[in-house]
Symmetry: C2
Subunit: 363 residues, 2 copies
């Protein structure tokens, strides 16, 4: 292989791809990235066997070929340079990077040892602007179960239909549902693993184009012209979460979001040992109380507009903060649906495009 690439494009591609590289002591080839000429471009690939990534880069190709090189060394090295162009030459499993000043030999590996990243050639299901996908995944991420005791909850449930794309996540303590107006050719659904969601959010920060989604055989492909992200899917059936979302509310509160966030944070400092704080509403105000026998106590009054009955509720302040964090509007709607029923947070425009539920505490 002999190729010459623009230095900035190469370092950007490597910085994107290396995020997927795992430190895998039992399978050291996964510490490598694969450099390969393909259809007149340079393809840079990495995989952790759960998520794989291919990044395609324009390059002047004098000689085709491929090599696997340790991601860390290659990345450290090229990031410490500062060139206009960079020429990569291989000789067997050695990668040479030479300029007037430098002579470099990086010891690589036989590309045949590198795991094959599956290809998905089915039709495109859906096309999503990358920002919308990134924002939607970010909104639901905190509600994904971290534990693997119920593997189907350790991912985001994604549903496609002819009108909407719906993302949902729950760890059984809270639940987030995000609905966006994106049409798909066919109805479908799958569970995307938590790690893939985390990687996708990171990777989509570097991508501005529309994302094509393809699906087959328990794998999903997110792609643009430049980048392909292939992930395995979670086996299992996602619970029928819709039935947990209350259809009606008893009382509804409208509060300024950033003020409430600040007050909840202050109350959290004095929350109980199970992180509980107490909200009490009357017509004009929301009062937050917190008491911790080791730390002290705190009370704060927040202006609010209440519809219907006054109510009291105790809840985990982290869950409340996580919910407030994803509300994109200046005010937040809080719906009280009864003791033993979830508390519901929504954006102020009252659409159903974002729903955050805090489940009642089991006492």
């Amino acid at each position: 292989m002999k190729i010459t690439a623009n230095y900035k494009n190469l370092t950007k591609a490597v910085s994107v791809v290396e995020k997927v590289v795992s430190r895998n002591p039992s399978l050291p080839i996964l510490n490598n990235i694969l450099l390969k000429t393909e259809n007149g471009r340079l393809k840079i690939s990495a995989t952790n066997l759960e998520v794989g990534i291919n990044y395609f880069l324009g390059a002047k190709i004098d000689e085709t070929g491929e090599i696997a090189v340790p991601a860390r060394i290659f990345s450290d090295f090229i990031n410490s340079l500062n060139e206009d162009k960079i020429t990569l030459t291989t000789k067997n499993t050695i990668l040479n990077i030479n300029t007037d000043k430098y002579k470099t030999q990086i010891l690589g590996f036989d590309p045949k040892e590198f795991p094959i990243i599956p290809k998905i050639k089915t039709d495109i299901y859906s096309v999503i602007p990358s920002k919308i996908l990134k924002n939607s995944l970010s909104m639901v991420l905190d509600s994904v179960a971290v534990s693997e005791t119920r593997p189907e909850l350790a991912g985001v449930f994604i549903q496609f239909n002819s009108k909407q794309l719906i993302l949902a996540a729950t760890d059984s303590f809270r639940l987030t549902e995000r609905v966006v107006e994106i049409k798909s050719k066919q109805d479908n659904y799958f569970i995307l693993p938590r790690n893939t969601v985390v990687e996708l959010i990171r990777l989509l920060g570097d991508v501005n184009n529309d994302i094509n989604i393809r699906y087959s055989d328990n794998q999903v492909l997110f792609s643009t012209d430049e980048v392909e992200i292939i992930s395995r899917l979670v086996d299992g059936n996602y619970p029928d979460y819709k039935k947990v979302i209350p259809e009606k509310y008893i009382s509804r509160l409208l509060v300024k979001k950033d003020v409430l966030e600040k007050h909840v944070r202050l109350a959290g400092i004095f929350s109980s040992n199970i992180a509980d704080i107490k909200l009490s509403c009357n017509e004009k105000n929301l009062t937050i109380n917190a008491k911790n026998s080791d730390k002290g106590e705190f009370q704060v009054v927040t202006e609010a507009v209440l519809k219907n009955e006054p109510f009291d509720i105790s809840l985990n302040y982290y869950y409340l903060l996580d919910g407030l964090k994803i509300i994109p509007t200046e005010h937040v709607i809080i719906e009280y649906t009864g003791q033993g029923s979830p508390l519901v947070l929504r954006p102020e425009h009252d659409a159903k495009d974002l729903t955050y539920l805090i489940m009642p505490l089991r006492k």
Copy 2:
């Protein structure tokens, strides 16, 4: 106690003092800061028994008093507020912070449980502008031994005399000596513990005034009108490090510092398993070679001006980078003093105000 303080001044004082607070499970009172009215000001104190700090803050004092409060809770709480003024009131061991909106009770402790921070009332030894002290301590810090196997090396050796202030540190692999033109009233010296040096560097970032130094009974006090930092000193005799600094050189090299730093960093990626790289000099160039049987190899040529004989030397690239990092000039002087003798780095103006030695490798 009842005092009212400016909010910004209070949060700044707390942020400075809390840096000294340790998480000490065997002596939980050390997790607290002491608030005390003293001579018309509010004194905020913390100690980890090695370093103590007093910060004096202008405040309107309606009622004198004192209380120990958990540093973390107090700091988290006041940092989450945003007020103009803040009123602190105590009742026994409870601290109240109330405004129109908030009611807060923080559970504190009897101030008598708080360790006494020693007072030093001797004459001022020396007065040093805080920036000079901070820079000088920062220059020698990396050479202080991290291990405590030789306790006297786990600190900075500080010497005062009628002309100069001299700071030295060595971990026996490298040595740094910094000389500044600061007069002292009396000759003296002591060893300042590594942790104190780290705390001082952090604290001096917030201080612009001159620092007064007092010394007595194995304790040292660094103070301004606003802040007092008291530290224990290291017992033991510092080795006669001066005899390790070579008086003559065999060859001397002048190199552009940032270029050399970049090249050493690149070579470091391919350094041997004991972090070795090789420097070879001729009249015009410095060539750096690095070879690692697992990673590959690297060579780079750097422009340089050599005086006297060409030479070769192998050394640990981390030690070379640490030395280059503290050289404040555009070029660096590298003095070769023979195989088995130290390599010496100096600023280009050739003064003796900063000397960095890399000891020869013992093979």
